[in-house]
């Protein structure tokens, strides 16, 4: 069934058991909404020098946006900023691929669980759900940087 390509086990798992959910102390906070569906997220980043010490978040949304935030937390926390940006770029590329991109080994290595979102990229209306937390993270990071809270 085509639906299974969107709702991969990994995604449903993250949705049911989200990683790092809840708001904790951070250097910067942003609030993003997806106006087409009303999904919302409040997200905080905490940096320890160049290292992402924490990404905490709270929000409401569908399985895809919730799972995506959970995967983001799992993938990015503990990484260097430069590496995190690579991951974000790869995720963006995957999500904008309209289902045309078959993740190769290199991509799988970078994205880990996040490759499960490949199937979502076939559904334009859901791509925004998957990207919500990633856009929020990017924005929060820019804010933290500009406020000089990190190196």
């Amino acid at each position: 069934m085509k639906l299974d390509s969107m709702y991969q086990e990994v995604i449903l798992d993250h949705y049911k058991h989200p990683h790092g959910r809840g708001l904790r102390d951070g250097d910067a906070e942003v609030h993003h909404v997806n106006p087409t569906c009303g999904d919302e997220i409040t997200l905080r980043v905490k940096y320890d020098g160049e290292t992402i010490a924490d990404v905490s978040y709270e929000g409401q949304g569908c399985s895809i946006s919730q799972a995506s935030a959970s995967v983001l937390n799992e993938l990015l926390v503990g990484k260097e900023l430069s590496q995190a940006q690579k991951i974000q770029d790869a995720f963006l590329e995957l999500m904008q691929s309209k289902g045309q991109l078959e993740p190769d080994d290199a991509m799988e290595e970078v994205l880990e669980d996040a490759v499960a979102f490949a199937g979502v990229s076939k559904y334009p209306a859901r791509v925004k759900c998957a990207l919500l937390s990633w856009m929020a993270w990017k924005d929060a990071t820019a804010k933290a940087l500009s406020e000089g809270k990190t190196a």
Partner: protein, 422 residues
């Protein structure tokens, strides 16, 4: 299932009607017939309307009002003929009270802007108040917020009760001597509620406020009689009433349209123009700047003919029967909570609900896989979601072509959704 369906009376001959709507034959996802339950967002179009569009473009297309040649005369007659049809459809006292816009949103913005630029006694300014409700479509909220911001007027609103009705308990505090305009929806697009027009109008008339009714979800589904309503303005939109996209209507009382200032300026709406100053044509032309949506008006005329040929009362009965049946069946679904009135009393054919903790996005996605098209989200009525503390709803909405079998398909589909996320 069959038992429940047997009790249904007042249904239309949907087998015949559905033949008029080409899209209802569509299949998706490897041959699944579309079950279209999103008519509150936009309706499907019968071939009678598409034929009218094609005939217009293939035989009578010309710009209107300014031509002496045959085709231009024909185009003008078709365009103005559509105005006659719409006027008759809503029982307008005069055809000149029917203004064609691009959609209901423009119609509502037009009212807000006319009042913002008007002279006394209509003028909305810092000493006055605007009243709307918490169950409005964003198109009947944002124009008033903009007007309030730009004039300094105060925006007030009626709240909603737990069972999805307007809370009019404090009507005398909300609508006061300061109120210049009360704008509310006749039928809620998210809750389905049909609102008590009379009570609101009576109070508005007491204080001398104008009343604007958003009939976007009413015009397609029931007899709309602007004289019986007693409002000052009534707005609705073509694409929800089997007409084309790109056309809306504002009906307004003649004296008001004469007194109020224009909104958009340009070709067609003038009487005479010099570089120093201009004068304006009488309504409705005063409010129709530029080349109007000619083909779309013609299409809306055909839509109105189509609906009338079936009969608005019969359409209303059909939808009432379907809605009753759908409410009954949906309430059988475990964990399903209806957002809005749970009986068919004073209720339109849009039913919003939540299904346990499953996010509407996910509900809609799994339904789509079965060919079932419902809308998910806040339905441009986010304050309602805030009011009920929910992020969004799933909404099924019915129209003259909807069948009990489609309700059954929805209920089966929801079972599948529950299993999928179970």
């Amino acid at each position: 299932m069959t038992d429940a369906r047997q009790g249904l009376s007042g249904l239309l001959d949907t087998e015949a009607i559905r033949k008029d709507f080409p899209l209802l034959d569509r299949t998706v996802h490897d041959g699944k017939k579309v079950v279209y339950l999103d008519s509150a967002a936009t309706s499907q179009k019968p071939r009678q309307v598409l034929d009218a569009l094609n005939t217009y473009y293939e035989r009578h297309n010309a710009n209107v009002h300014r031509g002496v040649y045959t085709i231009a005369e024909e185009a003008t007659a078709l365009y103005e003929g559509a105005r006659d049809k719409v006027a008759a459809f809503i029982n307008a006292p005069s055809r000149d009270e029917v203004i064609f816009t691009k959609n209901a949103s423009e119609s509502l913005n037009l009212v807000a802007n006319m009042l913002g630029w008007a002279d006394e006694p209509y003028r909305v300014d810092r000493d006055t108040e605007i009243v709307t409700t918490e169950m409005e479509h964003h198109s009947n909220i944002v124009p008033w917020q903009l007007l309030a911001q730009r004039t300094g007027a105060k925006l007030k609103w009626f709240g909603i009760t737990d069972d999805g009705r307007l809370d009019l308990s404090n009507i005398d505090e909300i609508i006061t001597e300061k109120t210049k305009i009360v704008s509310f929806t006749l039928v809620s697009n998210i809750l389905g509620t049909v609102n008590p027009v009379e009570q609101i109008i009576r109070r508005a008339q007491q204080v001398g406020a104008l009343v604007c009714i958003d009939a976007s979800q009413a015009a397609p589904h029931m007899v709309l009689d602007v004289q019986a309503l007693q409002a000052d303005f009534v707005a609705f939109t073509g694409h929800k009433m089997v007409g084309p996209t790109g056309i809306g209507v504002l009906w307004g009382r003649q004296e008001l349209l004469e007194d109020l200032p224009p909104f958009l300026g340009g070709g067609e709406m003038i009487e005479t123009v010099s570089m120093h100053s201009s004068t304006y044509a009488p309504a409705p032309h005063k409010f129709e700047a530029g080349t109007p949506p000619i083909a779309q008006a013609v299409g809306l005329g055909a839509a109105v003919d189509y609906l009338t040929s079936i009969g608005m009362e019969r359409i209303h009965s059909h939808e009432k029967a379907i809605t009753e049946y759908a409410l009954k069946r949906l309430l059988e679904v475990p964990d399903l909570r209806i957002i809005g009135p749970t009986t068919a009393e004073d209720r339109g054919a849009a039913i919003s609900f939540t299904l346990g903790d499953i996010h509407p996005h996910d509900v809609g996605q799994v339904l789509d896989e079965q060919g079932i098209a419902v809308r998910v989200g806040h339905h441009c009525a986010r304050p309602v979601c805030l009011r009920y503390g929910i992020p969004a709803t799933t909404r099924a909405s019915f129209y003259l072509y909807s069948t009990p079998a489609e309700v059954d398909a929805l209920v089966d589909g929801l079972e599948h959704v529950r299993n999928f996320f179970g």
